[in-house]
């Protein structure tokens, strides 16, 4: 481990995992944390709860399809949903730079409320810190969330088995591209916006219908589906086989990737999920998803295999086969 934190330690890729594994896990060591899921499963006062947190440091604060507030609600709601819980309560911690426009803050909290309403959660506790000009870049938001685990549902990489299908809920990269385009002087067609959305409703619909047919749910945020699938392959010690042509990418997203030298498989999503489902339930789950606004374009993109354990492979459009590795560092705009 290098002696100083680099951007890549926060990008969700290999260095992030090293940091968690080498610094955080040993210090905090406990069973709930060790699962390294999107959220912890805990028991309190006899209730089975999910508990999770994320900080949101997105720039720009307002982007096509959302803003940092919507993101802060959806991201944490989704992490709760991915554990198989019904999200109930959120906390909101604001760190604000002196000089921040209060009108912008208003827009952001209104947007949080709107997203919370849609997700069926209440923001019940909060904190506001103001730091000196220059001590933070505008505004960061942390949210933590508490939910109740659905009865009869056990979402865990332990339950991933060869033969399960992998469903992706829709086209990838929309969120990252909405953000990147603003940063790099690219103008997207109006039809392409961040996919930022709360998936709690969709998840509840699936798990209510098929409580024990789903092994894992995961939202491919930082690091994209490549990183998320590598995590699962490694946690479950299975192989994952993907079909490149089955993975939906919007033409404009593909275009930005080509302009900036990105790979859509590593791009962050904020309203998408991967569902590992027993093959017998695949069709039923797909039907439920396709009927829901956030799963209309859901499709099977691959399946679980026994070998090679811990690796993800991709059959390319021309029929080639290659390894799909975890992201190392951030994707940087490149010209080669």
């Amino acid at each position: 481990m290098s002696e100083r934190i680099q951007l890549a330690h926060g990008s969700g890729g290999k260095l992030s995992h090293d940091l968690v594994r080498e610094v955080m896990l040993p210090a905090f060591a406990n069973a709930a944390l060790a699962e390294m899921h999107d959220g912890a499963k805990v028991t309190a006062g006899g209730a089975r709860l999910a508990f999770t947190t994320d900080s949101y440091v997105v720039k720009p604060l307002f982007f096509a399809g959302g803003d940092i507030g919507k993101l802060a609600v959806c991201g944490t709601v989704n992490d709760l949903a991915m554990t198989g819980a019904v999200p109930l309560y959120l906390s909101a911690g604001f760190i604000i730079e002196e000089g921040f426009a209060i009108d912008d803050l208003r827009r952001i909290v209104v947007s949080m409320r709107r997203a919370a309403d849609e997700a069926g959660v209440a923001i019940v506790t909060g904190d506001t810190k103001v730091v000196e000009k220059g001590a933070v870049d505008g505004l960061y938001i942390n949210t933590a969330g508490v939910g109740v685990l659905l009865d009869g549902v056990d979402i865990s990489p332990r339950r991933v088995r060869p033969g399960q299908d992998i469903i992706l809920s829709g086209p990838i990269g929309d969120h990252a591209i909405a953000i990147m385009s603003e940063r790099h002087g690219l103008t997207l067609p109006a039809s392409v916006t961040s996919d930022c959305a709360p998936l709690a409703g969709l998840v509840k619909a699936i798990l209510t219908a098929v409580p024990d047919g789903v092994a894992v749910l995961r939202d491919p945020t930082r690091g994209g589906i490549a990183t998320t699938l590598n995590e699962i392959a490694s946690q479950a010690q299975v192989g994952i086989f993907l079909d490149e042509t089955a993975i939906p990418v919007r033409p404009a997203v593909q275009a930005v990737c080509e302009i900036l030298g990105f790979d859509p498989l590593y791009l962050a999503n904020e309203g998408k999920m991967l569902v590992f489902v027993e093959q017998v339930f695949t069709e039923q789950v797909l039907n439920i998803m396709n009927a829901h606004p956030y799963g209309r374009e859901a499709r099977v993109i691959g399946r679980v295999t026994a070998q090679p354990a811990g690796q993800v492979g991709l059959r390319t459009a021309i029929g080639g086969m290659r390894l799909l590795d975890m992201l190392v560092g951030d994707q940087l705009p490149r010209i080669c």
Binding site: S181, G185, L186, T187, L188, P189, S191, V192, P251, A252, Q254, A255, V256, E258, I259, G261, R334, I335, C336
Partner: protein
């Protein structure tokens, strides 16, 4: 170091053009391709248009693929 993408020129003011790649628009310089016209397909590299794309030749590349037909005949 040579990533480049095809784009179509939507408009042009002096040596600056607005180009579109699958609906994604950006500004590029025409300093290295001063004769490019609105409507031209051009290759973009590092913020510059560096060549026009020849539709006729593009078609011809596809024609090279015509050899395939023999193959298909052969393999049924």
């Amino acid at each position: 170091m040579c990533l480049a993408v095809p784009a179509v020129i939507l408009s042009r003011q002096d040596m600056l053009a607005t180009v579109s790649v699958s609906g994604v628009t950006r500004q590029v310089s025409l300093m290295l391709l001063p004769e490019a016209q609105v409507g031209d397909y051009v290759l973009i590299h590092a913020g510059f248009a560096i060549q026009t794309i020849d539709a006729e030749e593009a078609r011809r590349t596809l024609e090279l693929f015509k050899e395939l037909e023999k193959y298909e005949e052969f393999n049924g």
